[in-house]
Amino acid sequence: MFRLHDVSYAYGGSRTAQAALSHISLDVPQGEFRWLLGPSGAGKSSLLSILALEAQASAGMVEILGVPVMQARRGALARLRRRIGAVYQDFRLLPDLNVFDNVALPLRLQHRAEAEISHEVHAIMKWVGLETRLDALPPQLSGGEQQRVAIARAVIYRPALLVADEPTNALDDRQAARLLAMFHRLAELGTTIVVATHNDSIVRKYPAPAIELAHGHLVRDYR
């Protein structure tokens, strides 16, 4: 779950600051699935960056999984990040690690046992249909395959909050349907999920509460 109160965010230096979000207030409880809608430049990626602790709000109050982010120490933020999964538009796979090691990365940073890591990675890679590509390097994969690896890495540690930026972009309809079914299943298990998209057809096909942004402002918070 997360709560934002009167949050604003600007990027760039102090002289060239561009407002990306203005006075956003949201309250999303545990286990909820939300679409994040809006045209390009609406502030969807900025909002997801704040939720993934990749950016710090310029003003307002941000509380994620019960932690007041603006007041938290760096160590507490690092622990909080281990409970947040993120799927980025550009996948952010490490090109010199193979698929197995990319997906295992979050578990290794949590110092899990290698046997457990191996079991978890094989299970999730089977689910995304890439169990035969474990030794491949990211540049050897197609865009859709890279996206599935990025999704596997984001969900392998069953995060309490999952944010995804256009996660179905490079997927075919069948893969997209499987992915959204898994997201709904994760939400049922207690994960709060926010998925940004500007694909109206997929939203119509899989209806769910939505947050709509335009020009950095909250237009609607459908429930």
Partner: protein
């Protein structure tokens, strides 16, 4: 298992290549060893000059066997000039020892000049070697008292010369210390530059594992372990390379710093490692042993601080 544990994407063997840094740290360690050796040698010479043979004052008493002056102020007037002088020296508190050179010692001392003149019957003064406590200088009153008992007595303070040499040795020590500090500063700068270059090379991987919950301590620990080991290796190489040069210098300096009965015998010690190491002053040996761990620790601390400062850029 260990190999798997470090598959965290940092790829430090790419970020911090294993040749450049050890080479530079090795060179710095080599220079630091030479500077330390210079400082320790200067200290040893200073000690010798201020406390050893260099601190001797000589008293010359012409016509030593003539009767002492009648107005000598001793408690029991001596019969001869030399006895009057010896009595005064024996009762002066600043003087720790006084030794009258024997006739043979005196002739040995003057042999180069006496042999040149070919005259062995020259009347020679009595010469007394006087050791004075390092912190106490006899005042002019002593010379006045000596001359009152034995007019014409001369006192030569060799300590003036040895004090100047000691001052020179002190400044050499300061230069050596300064050189070590400069070498350390350069080493710290080199480690900082290498670490920053490594951070820049792997910035995307660092940003990713940071976003996945890696702590600043984990990331800085990974970098500093690598740099610490590379610096330790470089320090070991630099120390080992400096050893033969220091041994050769110690061998050359031995006659000036050692007592005559401990002078090494040329050729013998090179076949015996124990004797070889005995050539080095103990202080230098310990410093040489301490240099590689110091290099490793310096690298580790510098990298910790550099990486933690860099990570502050990330939210």
């Amino acid at each position: 298992m260990a190999r798997q544990r470090y598959h965290d994407g940092l790829a430090l063997h790419q970020a911090l290549p294993g040749r450049f840094l050890p080479f530079l740290v090795g060179a710095m360690t080599f220079l630091a060893a030479l500077a330390l050796a210079g400082g320790i040698a200067a200290h040893a010479l200073s000690q010798r000059w201020t406390h050893g043979a260099g601190a001797v004052t000589t008293v010359q008493v012409p016509n030593p066997d003539d009767p002492a002056a009648a107005n000598a102020g001793g408690a029991s007037p001596a019969a001869t000039r030399i006895h009057a002088v010896q009595d005064i020296l024996a009762t002066t508190p600043a003087i720790t020892a006084a030794h009258r050179l024997t006739d043979a010692e005196l002739r040995a001392l003057l042999a180069p000049w006496i042999e040149q003149t070919g005259d062995g019957s020259l009347p020679l003064p009595a010469v007394i070697e006087v050791h004075i406590a390092p912190t106490r200088n006899p005042d002019n009153a002593l010379l006045a008292r000596l001359q009152a008992s034995a007019p014409g007595t001369m006192v030569e303070h060799d300590s003036v010369w040895s004090d100047r040499l000691a001052a020179l040795a002190g400044s050499l020590q300061a230069c050596a210390l300064l050189a070590v500090l400069i070498v350390m500063t350069v080493a710290v700068c080199v480690v900082m530059a290498a670490t920053r270059a490594g951070l820049q090379t792997r910035r995307q991987a660092i940003a990713l594992i940071h976003s996945l919950g890696a702590t600043d301590g984990y990331i800085s620990g990974r970098f500093s372990s690598r740099v610490g080991l590379l610096a330790l290796g470089g320090g070991l190489c630099g120390g080992v390379l400096a050893l033969p040069m220091l041994l050769a210098m110690s061998h050359l300096a031995a006659p000036f710093t050692a007592t005559t009965d401990t002078l090494p015998t040329m050729g013998m010690e090179w076949r015996n490692p124990r004797m070889l190491l005995d050539l080095l002053p103990h202080a230098l040996l310990w410093m040489l042993l301490a240099l590689p761990p110091a290099a490793g620790l310096t690298g580790w601390i510098t990298t910790q601080l550099t990486v933690r400062a860099w990570l502050r850029r990330l939210p």
